[in-house]
């Protein structure tokens, strides 16, 4: 590329860059002024608009503006040559050569010498003329940021929410008064109520949901802090039920699934009891694994399942299993069998304890839901002597009959761990998948009296006309017919 073309291109590049910077500063000034105007106008209308960092998302607009300014720079190569010629003091030599004139070698050498020092002639920004723009932006934004906060009138808090909050505070005070609330829980609840008070004061629309949650939390804490019932009444049964529930949680459900998987892999599956096979088969997957969440949630059934695996004697015959399983798997199976034995033992002890405490009332009284023994019988499910009389079917640990006449005491308020589930039940299936539009038979929107509307003239009689106007309308049409007949 000849030197003059390179020089002109270099001049153009520098010019485009400078125009871009200049346009960027202009656009930022405009955006800054706009932001300040928005803030001031908002304050004028009482809106507390405060500059935020996310307003910087508008800066791409400034970049786009600057790029557009730079790209549509209306300077042709000839115009650039003129500018460069004058900046280099060539008195038209560059211009003449750019327009196709052939220079004498002496003049060409002078031109090349001048072009060698083009860096001195490249344009630069007049910072004194453009620096005021960012300064003004900074000053304006700073001044707006320094303005005092707008005193926005806060609407009065809703009366009902305030009353509900006061009720919660009263319940918390009662709980604190009992002295059984752990300090960390107390502090958490107090902090939560303070947050709710702030939300109520600001009129937050979602405060009712928060209030309900806090009420439920307080209720749980109240139930947890409830003192044990006196012995001889339902209190001992409740304590036994609570202990039994704790024991039940020792049944390792995941280990049951794993043990079933290993047993199936070892080929000793058929030696399990038929009932245990059915229950385990319900949790079997297609890949040979067992889903623990599909095992029975009933504690008694889980205990019986564990008992069936532990008592099958398969786990003790390690030599037999060693042929089908690895030593690690055999060791794992042995460890799980020991765990099953402990869990079954704990379950049996819990059942005996409950029978000793609540067995006097016998079956049918444990689940009446009116006293503390109701919850005691629940964990032992359908197979236990204290099964729920009202329902007749176990609903898992913590399930209890609910009496709608009074609060339910005992384990009914204990946290209930629900089994994992799916949104769609297993017995649901997709009957058909189609991609075409549904076949529907549109029905005409035909209201009563529509036939009259479709007619001509007579449709007017279908209108709802007030009784005192009907005579006028009738006389009008009758008169029209009469006049038409007279004219004919």
């Amino acid at each position: 590329m000849p030197a003059k073309h390179a020089a002109i291109d270099q001049f153009r590049r520098r010019l485009v860059a400078l125009v871009f910077v200049d346009g960027l500063l202009r656009a930022l000034l405009a955006l800054g002024v706009l932001a300040v105007v928005v803030v001031l106008v908002g304050r004028g209308f009482g809106l507390p608009i405060v500059p935020a960092w996310n307003w910087l998302w508008a800066t791409p607009l400034a970049v786009v503006f600057a790029a557009a300014q730079a790209l549509r720079l209306p300077l042709s190569a000839a115009a650039l040559a003129v500018h460069l010629d004058r900046r280099l003091g060539l008195h038209g030599l560059l211009l003449a050569q750019h327009e196709g004139a052939e220079l004498d070698p002496a003049f060409a050498q002078r031109l090349d010498t001048a072009l060698a020092g083009i860096t001195q002639a490249l344009p630069s920004l007049q910072w004194r003329r453009i620096l005021w723009r960012p300064c003004v932006v900074l000053l304006l934004v700073g001044a707006v940021a320094a303005l005092p906060a707008l005193d926005v009138p806060v609407p009065p808090p809703p009366v009902a929410a305030t009353a509900a909050l006061q009720q919660l505070e009263q319940q918390l005070q009662e709980l604190v008064g009992q002295g059984t609330l752990p300090p960390e829980v107390k502090e958490e609840l107090q902090q939560r109520l303070q947050e709710l008070a702030a939300q109520v004061a600001t009129g937050d629309a979602d405060v009712w949901r928060e209030l309900d949650d806090a009420g439920r939390r307080l209720a749980r804490e109240r139930d947890a802090a409830r003192p044990p019932a006196p012995a001889g009444d339902g209190g001992a049964a409740a304590a036994a039920a609570s202990a039994a529930a704790d024991l039940l949680r020792q049944v390792p459900v995941a280990d049951l699934a794993r043990a079933a998987e290993l047993l199936q892999r070892s080929g000793a599956w058929s030696e399990l009891q038929q009932a245990a096979q059915r229950q385990l088969a319900a949790a079997a997957g297609v890949d040979g694994t067992f889903d623990a969440s599909k095992l029975p949630v009933d504690a008694a059934r889980l205990a019986e399942l564990a008992r069936a695996i532990a008592d099958s004697g398969l786990l003790a015959d390690a030599a037999r299993l060693a042929g089908a399983l690895s030593p690690e798997q055999v060791a794992e199976l042995t460890r799980m069998a020991q765990g099953f034995a402990r869990a079954v033992g704990a379950f049996d002890r819990g059942r005996e304890l409950l029978q000793r405490l609540g067995g006097g009332r016998g079956a049918g009284q444990g689940g009446d839901g009116k006293n503390a023994s109701a919850g005691a019988g629940a964990p032992f499910g359908a197979d236990g002597p204290g099964s729920i009389a009202g329902s007749g079917a176990a609903r898992g640990p913590g399930a209890a009959a609910l009496a709608m006449t009074a609060d339910t005491d005992g384990v009914a308020a204990a946290p209930l761990e629900l089994p994992a589930t799916e949104l769609r039940p297993d017995d649901w299936f997709a009957s058909d998948v189609r991609r075409d539009a549904p076949d529907v038979a549109p029905q005409p929107n035909q209201a009563a009296g529509g036939a009259g509307v479709a007619g001509s003239g007579g449709a007017s009689w279908q209108l709802q006309v007030m009784p005192r106007h009907r005579g006028v309308v009738r006389r009008f049409f009758d008169g029209a017919r009469g006049e038409a007949g007279d004219k004919r």
Binding site: L18, V19, S76, G92, E99, A101, E102, D104, S124
Partner: protein, 337 residues
């Protein structure tokens, strides 16, 4: 591709021009700019109108130019009773071989350099007799056209005062002059030099420094000076800006009644070529145009009466035009230095 003048050609032209300038400056002391403009006008083969007070050396300058160029020189003192035939010449009855016949007798216009002294003192009838001579370089008398010798220059002078009994030149006549140059006064130092170096103020008799061949060579070199399109566009924009249109500068809109003609643009282009060569350049630059703008444009503007009464002059209007019209049509952004 256009071939520009070589460096030796430019040097040669400058040498010739410097010779003429030096000779003129020896005659007219302290008037370098005036001498340069006169030399430029001669190189551009244009006519020159000198305006100035009496005693500033206008006539001496013109006489010196004629003699320095080695051309035939005639001086015509324009008076109110001067008739066209007095300058163009006319038929006279002569007896040749026993027969009487009208023979055309050439007037003083038939010279290479004609000094029309105090041209505004003659009647318009006589002034208009110069129109054809200045434009066509020919004289038509009784249906016969007589070409004038080449080169042909009219160097006229006029006095801006003593306007009583004068006939201001019409615009058409003014337009024929390439330059109208106002002769400025001289300072005390120059007058001291005149007093000490010249007896009775008579300048040293100039001798011809250029031959006819050298003058032709000089004209050829001037014609070969390259005029870039950007500079030509600048000339066109300058001339267009002298018209009181909506896009004209405010001074033009307020003071100018009629602007300069395309002949003005042609004159500026030719004068700029000569100015470039005088500056030792093979091409015209914007500065050459600006240098010749005022003497080439000012006398072609017709000012409004109110503006003249208000003190506006054509020279100030041209200055305003030069300030308003940028040399480059597309200027750099204002924030870029």
């Amino acid at each position: 591709m256009t071939t520009m003048l070589r460096a030796d050609q430019v040097a040669r032209a400058r040498q010739l021009l410097d010779t003429v300038r030096r000779g003129c400056n020896e005659v007219l002391l302290g008037q370098q700019e005036l001498v340069d403009l006169c030399v430029i006008a001669l190189c551009a083969r244009g006519h020159l109108l000198l305006e100035g007070l009496p005693g500033l050396g206008k006539t001496e300058l013109v006489k010196a130019l004629g003699r320095l160029l080695g051309l035939s020189f005639r001086r015509v003192q324009f008076t109110p009773d001067l008739l066209p035939g007095d300058i163009t010449g006319g038929p006279v009855l002569q007896e040749q071989g026993g027969q009487r016949a009208f023979v055309f007798r050439q007037g003083p216009l038939f010279a290479n350099v004609v000094l029309a002294d105090e041209i505004n003192r003659s009647s318009p009838k006589t002034q208009s007799a110069l129109l054809e001579a200045m434009q066509e370089r020919a004289v038509t008398v009784l249906g016969e056209t007589h070409p004038l010798p080449r080169p042909f220059f009219v160097l006229a002078t006029q006095n801006p005062i003593e306007l009583e009994g004068t006939y201001p030149l019409p615009e058409a006549q003014l337009d024929r002059f390439l330059f109208k140059v106002t002769v400025p006064g001289v300072d005390a130092e120059v007058m001291t030099r005149i007093l000490t170096t010249r007896r009775r103020g008579e300048p040293p008799p100039p001798t011809a420094v250029l031959s006819a061949a050298e003058l032709d060579e000089l004209f050829t070199l001037v014609d070969a000076v390259f005029l870039p399109q950007a500079v030509a566009g600048y000339i066109a924009r300058l001339v267009a800006s002298t018209h009181p249109t909506a896009t004209a500068p405010a001074a033009v809109r307020e003071a100018v009644r009629y602007g300069a003609s395309p002949r003005a643009a042609i004159a500026m282009g030719e004068a700029a070529r000569a100015a470039a060569l005088l500056a030792g350049r093979p091409n015209v630059d914007f500065d050459d145009v600006r240098r010749v703008a005022a003497p080439a444009l000012a006398h072609r503007l017709v000012l409004q009466h109110a503006a003249r009464i208000g003190g506006s002059t054509a020279a100030t209007i041209v200055d305003r035009v030069l300030e308003a019209v940028p040399m480059v049509a597309t200027a750099l952004p204002g924030s870029v230095l």
